[in-house]
């Protein structure tokens, strides 16, 4: 039996197409940020969390006179406490998808999720 031997040129060719393939995969997958949560007060950013990389559940204290606390968990974020009278922020529950937002109006604290794969252009209601 004859053993097939790859020529040097063939190797280069295979390597080249492999690289092209890898490059294309990166091109069409990156940067697909699917869940960066941005916490803002009065429209100015306080902090941000990459919900995709979040691997444990934690609570953070945002403060303000309403003692706002947020709960960050893998893939989702929510208001867990606020001393505000309406509690709309807490009742909104967890948000997880790009384009979603939760807001504490009295404290002017908002959390929005950004990413270029928005499921909706806007929310009414």
């Amino acid at each position: 039996m004859r053993i097939m031997v790859l020529k040097k040129r063939d190797l280069i060719l295979i390597l080249f197409f492999l690289l092209v393939g890898i490059f294309l995969i990166f091109l069409f997958n990156y940067p697909q940020q699917t869940g960066i949560a941005i916490v803002e007060q009065n429209g100015a950013e306080i902090c941000r969390f990459d919900l995709q990389k979040q691997n444990r559940t934690e609570e953070i204290n945002v403060g303000d006179k309403y003692n706002v606390r947020l709960k960050i968990e893998p893939g989702a974020i929510s208001f867990i406490h606020s001393d505000c009278p309406d509690q709309i922020c807490v009742k909104t529950g967890k948000i997880s998808k790009p384009g979603q937002a939760a807001v504490c109006l009295p404290a002017k604290i908002s959390v929005k999720i950004t990413g270029n794969k928005k499921t909706h252009d806007g929310y009414t209601g």
């Binding site: 040129r9 060719l13 080249f16 197409f17 092209v20 490059f23 294309l24 091109l27 069409f28 803002e40 009065n42 429209g43 009278p85 309406d86 709309i88 009742k91 909104t92 529950g93 967890k94 948000i95 998808k97 979603q100 937002a101 807001v103 109006l105 009295p106 002017k108 908002s110 929005k112 950004t114 499921t119 909706h120 252009d121 806007g122 929310y123 009414t124 209601g125």
Partner: protein, 354 residues
């Protein structure tokens, strides 16, 4: 000779691959116009904007400025606003106001008349007693409501377009444009996008949405309708509306409510009784080509209920979605093909009126 031919073939195929790659990169980058997102608080609510194109940032900033200016004209809470001036002079004199305020009052009166008072811009004496979302929210006494409900009557709001002035006929009367202002703000933003040359954009003022232009890939704008129910395991939206232009507003019980002695009271008050409307509806969404109208109509339709509400929408060539507390959704005829339910707890009522 043969070897040379092979090399040429190889080189040209590599070249071809490189050309394809460059095209792919170019398409990937080229099809997206730059976008500018900003959020801020005004008109007592949260404002989210996304404006696209090289003028996107300028356009969004202009929109925020225009919304601020509108608030300074029409908020009854702001000293020296047009509405505050009219309220302070209620029962005494006419006040000269900005033509923008006059136009908005004119639209308010039109919806008030056509809805037979289901929407009433003179509802302040009642809304200020309930103070939904405020530090003093509570159920007012029956006596207080009986004493003040007679000052809620749009027939006693007079406007004069010729010299841009307005007056309230009786002392104790007061204007509250809370049910039309957010939609009007969306309109201001859309006109700013146009003026400053944004390619396309979307603004959300609270639950009201304004759309400007169309997306370059030709897809429709998709607007999620919020789930009236809230809780851990609830989806945030019940479905999606797809439209190419216009304005969308929603009035829902869940927006502002409080519980006192075991009873939950929501902010959508009947101007005739002074109490929250209790007709089985939990939210009404209206789609229309005018922002102020979509906002006022969503409140009017909520108060009127489905049957009368649909008739009112017809008069304005507007479309709507009515959701009741049995998870049933009624969608007006023209909107039916543009609305999709995503939450299986809800179902569409087909045997409705119209």
């Amino acid at each position: 000779m043969k070897k040379n031919k092979n090399t040429i073939l190889l080189l040209s195929s590599i070249l071809l691959v490189i050309v394809i790659l460059i095209t792919a990169v170019w398409m990937k980058i080229g099809k997206k116009s730059p976008s500018y997102e900003c959020t801020n608080f005004a008109m007592g609510t949260y404002i989210q904007q996304t404006a696209y194109g090289k003028n996107g940032e300028k356009a969004a900033q202009e929109a925020a400025k225009k919304i601020g200016e509108l608030e300074n004209l029409i908020s009854w809470r702001i000293n020296d606003s047009d509405i505050n001036k009219i309220n302070s002079a209620a029962g005494s004199e006419w006040k000269t106001i900005n033509p923008k305020t006059t136009q908005l009052l004119k639209t308010s009166l039109d919806v008030a008349k056509k809805s037979k008072g289901a929407f009433d811009p003179t509802i302040l004496p009642i809304t200020s007693m309930w103070d939904f979302g405020g530090d003093n929210q509570h159920v007012p006494s029956k006596t207080d409501i009986n004493n003040f409900i007679k000052y809620v009557d749009y027939n006693n709001l007079r406007i004069n377009e010729n010299n841009s002035s307005a007056s309230l006929k009786l002392h104790y009367m007061g204007l509250d444009l809370g049910a039309i202002g957010k939609g009007a703000a969306c309109q201001e933003a859309v006109s700013a996008y146009k003026e400053k040359g944004a390619d396309y954009g979307i603004v959300a003022v609270g639950g009201s949405i304004g759309i400007y232009g169309s997306k370059p890939d030709g897809s429709l704008w998709n607007i999620a309708v919020r789930n009236p129910k809230k809780g851990e395991n609830q989806e945030l939206s019940i479905g999606t509306i797809e439209i190419d232009s216009g304005f969308v507003s929603t009035s829902g019980t869940y927006e502002k409510e409080f519980t006192e002695n075991g009873v939950t009271y929501h902010h959508l008050l009947n101007p005739k009784t002074g109490y929250p409307v209790n007709n089985g509806l939990v939210s009404v969404t209206v789609v229309c080509d005018n922002g102020a109208l979509s906002d006022a109509l969503s409140t009017a339709c909520f108060v009127l209920g489905k049957e009368e509400g649909v008739k009112l929408l017809n008069e304005y060539n507007a479309e709507g979605i009515f959701i009741d507390n049995n998870n049933k959704i009624f969608v007006t005829e023209k909107l039916k093909n543009h609305f999709r339910i995503s939450d299986s707890q809800y179902s569409i009522l087909n045997n409705g009126v119209k």
